[in-house]
Symmetry: C2
Subunit: 229 residues, 2 copies
């Protein structure tokens, strides 16, 4: 939210969505929105560069907050866990207002221009994750590759859980669904940084029989062994 | 490439890129392109819906080919390996003509509209991978989640290696870089489908000591053990 006149900004968003739902997005002009909100055109463009931007009023703030959150990270923290915490900030923007989030989801599905806009927003979140991970994995073997792949996996996991929740009209527990999805990514990639001092390498002893066994079988076996513990 | 008059289509692409490089993308009109190519405006729009489309002349064909390739998959094949093969088809489109691919990469970096276009193309590839994987993992635990996350990871790995190669002006071995990147994804996710009949579970025997050891340490240990074999 802008720090000046948030009430007018909120009124513009409310008027815009009322008209988008009544008439459709394409059939609504900025003039219609400002007339309903009782303000002038210049007030609209003070808050939103275009009609598309009023559909995603909180993403710029959320991107800024999330980037600042990552920049303020403890250099010793688990980088993947930190990115997962950043994802929870993004999710909160959706779950704070389920009705609005579901309305926007339906609108975005119907209007190709809005889908393209959303795609560019998702890409900016993913790049923010990747830039942070690149910094943390700098100098490590395949650092940028691992950063990019893990960032994409985290974003995809979040989006999979979020979209299920939006498709269910905001019913169910979005937080729990996203935690579960992030857990899958964390199991796949583990802690991508260097091992911390309290995890000495000699903690692990492994014997593998028959060299032809595929790696995924071995990992599956270990996962179930650890779960039994 | 279109099956009819590919020479005219190629001539339009060549003329467009000559002008984009000489004058810049924004400063070049469709009229400029058709004048240089010696054809009429209608010929241009027969092949390309807009000026943006002439920058990515092979993506529609490539997307079609790749989707058909995935649709024709053996139902018993390793789904992740199959998606990696599909990625190799996409890569070949870039490596077939390194000069053109590098020129386009530079152009795309400079023009925001083209970056948005490219983003939507990348998204369509990723969705094609995800749709195929969703079909293959249908009914399995977390099937759609795993499909979406693995598809995003594969696309990110490919793009990481491809962009390094494009940034190096097409020098170096793009195929090898992409294989390496895909290997990282395959190690993280293994074979996401059911184990095949010729890989009986008793092929693997694993002993893990100290239950507090993190999974990534165990996997790292096994990977190096298998590599030593």
């Amino acid at each position: 939210m802008s720090s000046t006149k948030p009430a007018m900004r909120d009124a513009l968003v409310a008027a815009a969505f009322q008209l988008f739902l009544e008439r459709g997005y394409e059939q609504t002009t900025v003039d219609d929105i400002v007339t309903l909100a009782g303000v002038g055109r210049r007030s609209f463009f003070r808050y939103f560069p275009s009609k598309e931007d009023v559909v995603f009023p909180d993403h710029e703030r959320c991107l800024t907050d999330m980037t600042a959150f990552l920049a303020a990270s403890d250099p010793g923290c688990d980088p993947l866990e930190r990115v997962c915490e950043a994802v929870r900030l993004v999710l909160r923007m959706y779950t704070e207002n389920p009705t609005f989030s579901v309305q926007r989801y339906r609108l975005t599905k119907q209007v190709p221009g809005l889908r393209a806009y959303e795609l560019s927003v998702v890409w900016r979140y993913e790049r923010a994750f990747a830039e942070y991970l690149r910094g943390r994995l700098k100098g490590l073997h395949d650092g940028t590759l691992r950063a990019d792949v893990i960032a994409a996996a985290v974003a995809a996991a979040h989006n999979n859980a979020l979209r299920s929740w939006l498709r269910s009209d905001g019913h169910g527990d979005a937080e729990q669904a996203v935690e579960h999805a992030l857990g899958y990514v964390q199991a796949a990639f583990g802690a991508p940084g260097a091992p911390s001092a309290d995890e000495p390498p000699e903690d692990v002893v492994v014997i593998v029989s028959r060299r032809g066994a595929p790696l995924w079988r071995v990992v599956q076996e270990i996962e179930s062994t650890l779960e039994r513990d």
